[in-house]
Symmetry: C2
Amino acid sequence: MSSNTREKILKVGARAVHKKGFNGTGIQEILTAAGVPKGSFYFYFDSKEDFGLQLVDYYSDTIFARAGKILEDESMKPLDRLRKYFVGFFDIYEKNNFAYGCPIGNLSLEMADINKKFQEKLSRVFKRLKTVVTGCLDQARAEGDLPENIDPGDMADFFISSWEGALLQMKATKDPNLGKVFDRFMFEGLLAKRQ
Amino acid sequence: MSSNTREKILKVGARAVHKKGFNGTGIQEILTAAGVPKGSFYFYFDSKEDFGLQLVDYYSDTIFARAGKILEDESMKPLDRLRKYFVGFFDIYEKNNFAYGCPIGNLSLEMADINKKFQEKLSRVFKRLKTVVTGCLDQARAEGDLPENIDPGDMADFFISSWEGALLQMKATKDPNLGKVFDRFMFEGLLAKRQ
């Protein structure tokens, strides 16, 4: 079996779990959609739980690939990078009628209470994202673009959780205003330097 | 059958779904925990979906009972009410090791993409909460306690979604800092009147 089989299962599974949640997705439907026999699944994954945990890595790789490209792009000012990465996502999200959202946020709500391995793995993804966002804010501070009273680590926490919350609420309300007010209160409010 | 049976099923179901999600909870386990025969379930609920939709009303009744008591308590200043209701919840949440969170947020992520009836019902809960929070902010404005540049409806949107996001992220990271920074950036940042 080629390692492409593992990739194919993860790719098809990622789409299904992103849409229907981990508990709402059956192994069999993933295998059928991927055109892969059941034996292959258990060759690569010990159990559905193991598959789910590897899925967190799969999502996380995708997220940090995009994050790295934008949030570490030195040709832009640090706050412009943050705005492009996070606020830019709201536009993509609106085009999909606010479906799916952040797979890490989804799995956190679904799995963190009932499975400690998921909780710990998801927590590490948030901590890594916090590190990247804090790095951007540190750089903004070094360039004199951050208000004095803002602690970069605390702002990274608030920034990420508020963004997750906007995605969550838009999934229910389909109201693009939630993305617009995130943008405005963050970048024209808290992160704007007062003259 | 007494209408207490319906209440009992909803109460036991609410706890289970709050913890394990709607798809992760089986009807049979609710009935066993409630000590109710299967026939009773289908006397009160047409289907699991119907049960879930009635559960949204059940959660919503609990939420707005607490919200009404605090957010419409005229003995406190409007912004103090908001702080007591939303930030106060983080303390309760921390005592439970950040488990469960907001049932409306949880069901939004789990169900909004896959079931339009859930999505519409959950959207109405968020809109009702926005109305209550906007009312508080309108009153703060009338009393001269809101910064001039803050639109109450937009702030209500940002406030609720950021709060949902903090709960979500704390579920994974178990980090109380997310609640503290929500409090600080909201009440000492955006909502504070500059002298």
